[in-house]
């Protein structure tokens, strides 16, 4: 029995259908990430799981219990929001204990759980401060602490790192991964950033326009995408897509995909192009090559120097070419 099951979830706002027949299974202790461009319905799906939004049809089952008609506080979930959403007039301690107090826990239990969460998140020095007196990273830790003390069956994270700066984002990402290892509770995590999805998830759910495009482990999606959308969304820099006529391909193949890291530059590759720009990153060098009117990204490891405008050929092994049909489906 998994900790979360979604059965045939549909959601419409007025006449607009934003989620189409979503089925999903989250196993106990699994870290699942919903990823997709903005407007793909991932946040709506999370809000339906939380009970902040009603599904138009379908069932939400948490810990084996159908929770469609339960309010959010009775579903055994805890949620962390993008904007932290701390109660501005309460201290850190009261922010963390409010939910338990509402649930009617005894003050001894509340004290104990808040103290444990504060120790785990290194929030002990700040317990008597108000949110306005904390930095962004500390606020996000308080928000996580508020979720942890509820000891839920399922954690929900709604883009928790989007409001943090780049350095803090990496740190907090590691903290969340660490938290998941220690608590072992299932997590559903929403983000539009595929790097977060790749680094955190046991299982990624790629959404687009309210449809699930593919579900799988990060490496499975990277190595074996089902369609052109998933292939382009997962991986950074993104996959290059070229007209299939550049290569000798069967007639049903319309588009070919090449990962930037699968290409090298040489004199005898199958595709010719002209270097238009170079990016030196130290460990890698990104070379942008004009092929017809398309820009192809080539990621070379180590430091390389080329002249802009030089004619080159793209070299890659035939096995690294992804092939897609007219509808964007992968041809394996």
């Amino acid at each position: 029995m998994g900790s979360l099951t979604l059965k045939n979830i549909c959601k419409t706002f007025g006449k607009v259908e934003v989620l189409h027949n979503i089925d999903l299974e989250v196993e106990d202790g699994e870290f699942v990430v919903f990823v997709g461009p903005s407007g793909c319905g991932k946040s709506t799906l999370l809000r339906i799981i939380a009970g902040l939004e009603d599904a138009t049809s379908g069932d939400v089952i948490i810990g084996g219990e159908r929770v469609n008609h339960l309010p959010p506080s009775k579903r055994g979930i805890a949620m962390v929001f993008q904007t932290y959403a701390l109660y501005p007039h309460l201290t850190v301690k009261k922010n963390m204990s409010l939910g338990l107090k509402q649930a009617g826990e005894s003050s001894a239990v509340i004290e104990e759980r808040v103290a444990r969460a504060a120790r785990m998140l290194e929030l002990e020095p700040y317990l008597d401060r108000r949110p306005a007196e904390l930095s962004g990273g500390q606020r996000q830790r308080v928000a996580i602490g508020r979720a942890v003390v509820r000891e839920p069956k399922l954690f929900l994270f709604d883009e928790p790192l989007s409001n943090l700066d780049a350095a803090l984002r990496v740190n907090t990402r590691i903290e969340i991964a660490d938290l998941h290892r220690r608590l072992g509770t299932s997590i559903v995590y929403v983000t539009h950033d595929q790097v977060e999805a790749m680094t955190l998830a046991d299982k990624i759910v790629v959404l687009q326009d309210g449809y699930v495009e593919q579900v799988g482990a990060p490496m499975q999606l990277y190595n074996d995408p089902d369609n052109i959308f998933v292939a382009g969304f997962i991986g950074s820099p993104a996959m290059n897509f070229l007209d299939a006529r550049l290569l000798d391909m069967p007639p049903d193949v319309r588009t070919i995909g090449l990962r930037p890291e699968a290409i090298s530059l040489g004199d005898d590759g199958p595709i010719a192009g002209k270097i238009s720009h170079l990016e030196h990153l130290g460990a890698d060098t990104n070379v942008y090559v004009h092929v017809d009117d398309k820009l192809v990204t080539v990621r070379l490891f180590g430091q390389h120097d080329y002249e802009v405008g030089a004619a080159v050929r793209l070299c890659f092994s035939p096995g690294s070419v992804f092939r897609f049909d007219e509808q964007g489906k992968r041809i394996r």
Binding site: P71, S73, A85, L86, H89, L98, G99, Q102, R146, D158
Partner: protein, 279 residues
């Protein structure tokens, strides 16, 4: 250097404009105040002169406090104003919360309907209101006034407050729901404290017209028991003789409570007006 001097000039001009406006705005108030402390003769001979030892007199205040039940009028005004403000803020905030927070059929229409009251003066309905109050046996009660003023203040209150409530973070309300707070607690404990500046703005905008109103007290509650301050002061204005000392003293006294309430609200008011303009 050039820049600094330019800034100084700008600031001087801005201050000059503000000081001029302040003088114009305060002039009538100051005239009333200084004349209320003068003898009747001095009021008419030198209306702009401050009271001197020769012309100083408290006769106006003595008349006011002796004649009529001035303290009682005061109390009536205070009850009506505070009572109306309380209901305007309570019901206005509740309606605004519903309009800004919940999706339901006819939400926009309901908002428009409630806003129509801003454009149509309630005095147009005076006759109907009077008939209604007679039928409900509410004539000559303070309740009648509080009801009318609440109705009068609600449209603008709802309009202003719903705008402010839309700005309250949706995540915060959702966090409250996940923590198991009821909708009422979310409203009273999370949302209301965050829109306090807007509440103060609405309170001040409503307070002064209610305190100064003569129309409805005259029509709905002219009895001695329910007279408000503004209505009570009218006894000194006769058709042929007007006791100016008493009128000016009465008006001076009437300013006080509004001033006190304004000072209480003003810090919030300034925040309410400038929020949005300055982040």
């Amino acid at each position: 250097m050039q820049r600094v001097r330019h800034n100084l000039l700008n600031r001087a001009l801005a201050h000059a404009a503000l000081i001029t406006y302040t003088i114009i705005a305060l002039f009538p108030v100051v005239i009333i105040l200084i004349n209320s402390f003068k003898t009747r003769k001095a009021i008419f001979r030198h209306p702009l002169q401050p009271p001197t030892p020769d012309t100083f007199s408290l006769i106006g205040y003595e008349t006011v406090l002796k004649q009529g039940d001035y303290l009682h009028y005061f109390q009536n005004s205070l009850i009506v104003t505070v009572g109306s403000l309380f209901f305007i803020l309570l019901f206005g905030a509740m309606a605004a919360f519903a309009l800004s927070e919940y999706r339901f059929k006819g939400n926009t229409l309901m908002g428009l309907y409630l806003a129509i009251g801003i454009m149509i003066p309630i005095r147009l309905g005076t006759v109907a209101i009077l008939q209604f109050m007679v039928a409900a046996h509410l004539v000559n009660t303070l309740t009648a006034l509080i009801l009318v003023y609440t109705a009068q203040g609600l449209p603008l209150a709802i309009f202003i407050l719903s705008e402010f409530m839309r700005q309250v973070s949706a995540d915060l309300k959702d966090a409250g729901r996940i923590d198991g707070l009821s909708e009422y607690r979310i409203f009273f404990r999370l949302v209301l404290p965050l829109v306090r500046p807007a509440l103060a703005t609405v309170a001040v905008f409503n307070m002064i017209p209610i305190w100064n109103d003569l129309w409805f007290p005259l029509i709905l509650a002219p009895g001695e028991e329910t007279k408000t301050l503004t209505l009570g002061s009218q006894v000194f204005i006769g058709q042929f003789v007007t006791d100016w000392n008493a009128v000016l003293s009465g008006l001076s006294l009437a300013i006080l409570p509004v001033m006190i309430l304004y000072v209480i609200f003003s810090r919030q008011l300034i925040r309410g007006i400038t929020s949005g303009a300055v982040k």
